[in-house]
């Protein structure tokens, strides 16, 4: 009885000590919170998880993928430590940020993505369909309504007799999305008849709207004759048939990480708000865009700032970029990374920083 008692007392003490150590370890943990775009969310979550497990277990970054717009609002409200967006700060939001903090937001690109046309045509396999610029412009504006239209046949002499006598069902995003922002920026630059402009959500002249990349993918799969735009990483994940596109130089290109990386290798302006609506290189993939992390230029807490900067630098280092490639996102070019690091080092600590 006595041994039992002492044994339980011992285990109780051990438990208490264990709890105490656990508590003190927790006290050292730095919690960093971010919010924003859904498209880069899988990459961000992999990055932050890998960083926590392999590099620095005391850093816990939580990222809520609530959408670019909602993320920017949270940055303006001071509710998060960083935001992520697929569209640069602009308009009323930029003015609100300036008015509240008295400086320009720090927006740094962390990577990019490409957008592909995915289709559901019974007899036509992945990569067989070629879309020239006038043709896909005609599809999105509703001028071309049939798959056996002569303009599509002219683009595809090899498979002209296999193009089915089906109506074209255009599938677009119904939710506001950075994917739509990048895609419509491209349309605006390329299509003379595109009047809906560019934005995270636009007034589509034709088509069916579906929620998220997964909704677009499901709708395309359910509809013979459907075509829509999805993020490249998603098209690969869902094994969707995608089209080869004509780029600005007039060449027909298929998506590859190299073609997309070279498309994004353009001179980056001082505010990093690089949009490449229509890349010029001869082998560039035509529809690409960046995503940015939105930061303050002053943080109240030295330790949190240090950890945040270390984490962000790691994402651009060799391990971080390996994950970027693995998940089919586009890593930033080396020259841009040096400038990003310089901007990160310039963030200051101010205990009275506005939040």
């Amino acid at each position: 009885m006595r041994t039992l008692f002492s044994a339980s007392l011992f285990s109780l003490t051990a438990l208490t000590v264990g709890l105490l150590t656990a508590t003190s370890a927790q006290a050292q943990t730095v919690q960093i919170s971010g919010a924003g775009a859904t498209f880069p969310a899988p990459l961000l979550q992999r990055w932050f998880d890998a960083y926590n497990r392999t590099v620095d277990p005391t850093v816990q970054v939580s990222y809520q993928s609530v959408g670019s717009g909602a993320g920017l609002e949270q940055v303006i409200n001071g509710a998060v430590d960083f935001g992520v967006s697929e569209a640069p700060f602009s308009g009323a939001r930029l003015e609100s940020f300036r008015a509240k903090y008295g400086y320009e937001p720090l927006q740094l690109p962390l990577g990019g993505g490409a957008i592909e046309f995915a289709y559901n045509l019974p007899d036509i396999k992945d990569g067989e369909l070629i879309l020239k610029r006038e043709t896909y412009c005609g599809i999105v504006t509703g001028e071309i309504t049939r798959w056996d239209d002569n303009r599509i046949k002219a683009d595809n002499p090899d498979i002209a007799n296999r193009l089915p006598p089906l109506d074209i069902t255009w599938v677009h995003r119904s939710d506001g999305s950075g994917t739509t922002f990048v895609f419509t920026n491209h349309l605006k630059a390329v299509c003379p008849n595109w009047t809906a402009g560019a934005g995270t959500s636009v007034e589509w002249p034709v088509g069916i709207g579906a929620q998220g990349n997964e909704g677009v993918a499901a709708t395309i799969k359910q509809e013979p004759g459907a075509i829509g735009y999805v993020n490249q990483s998603y098209a690969k994940l869902e094994n969707m048939a995608t089209a080869r596109l004509e780029n600005k130089a007039g060449n027909i290109v298929e998506f590859s990480t190299e073609a997309a990386t070279s498309a994004l290798d353009a001179p980056i302006p001082d505010d990093f708000a690089l949009l490449v609506p229509d890349p010029e290189g001869p082998n560039d993939y035509p529809i690409v865009g960046l995503f940015w992390v939105m930061l303050y230029r002053e943080y109240p807490d030295q330790e949190k700032l240090t950890k945040l900067v270390e984490t962000l630098k790691w994402t651009q280092g060799p391990e971080g970029q390996a994950i970027t490639r693995e998940l089919d996102y586009i890593p930033m070019p080396e020259a841009a990374i040096q400038r990003i690091f310089a901007e990160l080092d310039a963030i200051t600590v101010n205990p009275n920083a506005v939040r």
Partner: protein, 327 residues
């Protein structure tokens, strides 16, 4: 009594009075407390409702000032140029809900009659009743997925046939129907709201006095005549209120509409073409909306609240009318 007590020479014991009050007070305090608690709870519910309405309207103010009542008749939703109107969504919300009722009312009332009028033994009706209650437990996102992967491919040939033969009716017109459409939304909504009609109608029939039915049968009415001419008119107020509840549910349903309507923010009379509803618009656009767009979405929310309020008022009027008829 007190004077008599003083007459005995001993001073009146002031504790006695107090004691009586003390004994009475605990149960009385509970009583009063309970009344106040229920009052507070009822008030709380009302305050939350008013608070939500005020906050939504306040957030909608910039859009209300900019677009005014033109918002209700404009058929454009253009976040790039900040031009907003919800006519297609109002049409979509009303039409999907009304058509859902066309599916749900016969289904609901028929099932309720079958379950209560002794057409089948208990071992048949009990599992059916249980299954109906389970429909309510299906999450709407699951019904949405079922709509995309099962219902749409199943009804597509039927829709195409209707479109080809009856295409001259505007509601079935347009190009050959593809996947998502307002009619698909209405069908799934009909399935979703029928349990409401069934359960309320069923309890209405069960609560009708037996003498009504027995009297009708005694007068020589057949079972069919009894149901049509006695049971349904007698239970009409219950049936109508169940229908109105179901209509309110259909107007507010979001996930099914967002997944199956096609989210086309264009006006299209045909129910076989993609459309949109107010709830689907708000749900799909909120996350990435710009400042004025958020305000316009809030305005759309206010419009939906007013629509629902109107439906409830109409329901109340109809129910009162029928109650008068019964008396």
């Amino acid at each position: 009594m007190t004077s008599a007590a003083t007459g005995y020479g001993s001073p009146p014991n002031p504790d006695i009075d107090v004691d009586i009050e003390k004994k009475a007070s605990p149960s009385r305090a509970v009583d009063v407390g309970f009344v106040r608690l229920t009052l507070a709870l009822a008030g709380f519910a009302g305050i939350i409702l008013i608070w939500v309405i005020l906050q939504t309207t306040e957030a909608a103010l910039p859009a209300i000032q900019q677009f005014g009542l033109g918002f209700l008749v404009t058929a454009r939703w253009n976040p790039v140029e900040n031009i907003y109107g919800v006519l297609p969504q109002i049409y979509g919300s009303l039409m999907t809900s009304l058509v859902a009722l066309i599916f749900a009312i016969p289904l609901g009332i028929g099932t309720a009659i079958f379950l209560t009028e002794g057409f089948a033994p208990k071992w048949v009706t009990a599992p059916i009743g249980f299954a109906i209650e389970l429909i309510v437990a299906i999450p709407s996102v699951v019904l949405g997925l079922w709509g995309i992967f099962v219902l749409i491919p199943a009804v597509r040939p039927i829709f195409r046939a209707i479109n080809q033969t009856l295409g001259w009716i505007p509601f079935f017109g347009g190009p050959a129907p593809r996947g998502p459409s307002l009619l698909i939304v209405a069908m799934v909504l009909g399935i979703m709201i029928s349990p409401i009609i069934i359960s309320i109608t069923r309890s209405t029939f069960e609560s009708l006095p037996r003498s009504l039915k027995e009297g009708a049968l005694a007068l020589g009415a057949t079972r069919w005549e009894t149901i049509l001419t006695v049971m349904i008119p007698a239970g009409l107020s219950g049936i109508v209120s169940s229908i109105m509840l179901a209509l309110g549910r259909a107007l507010g349903e979001t996930m099914v509409a967002a997944m199956l309507s096609g989210n086309a923010n264009r006006i299209n009379i045909s129910l076989m073409q993609p459309g949109s509803t107010i709830t689907a618009l708000i749900a799909s656009q909120f996350g990435e909306a710009g400042r004025l767009q958020v305000s316009a979405l809030m305005y759309a929310g206010v419009v939906l609240m007013v629509l629902t309020l109107l439906v409830n008022i109409v329901a109340e009027i109809i129910i009162r009318k029928f109650q008068n008829l019964e008396q």
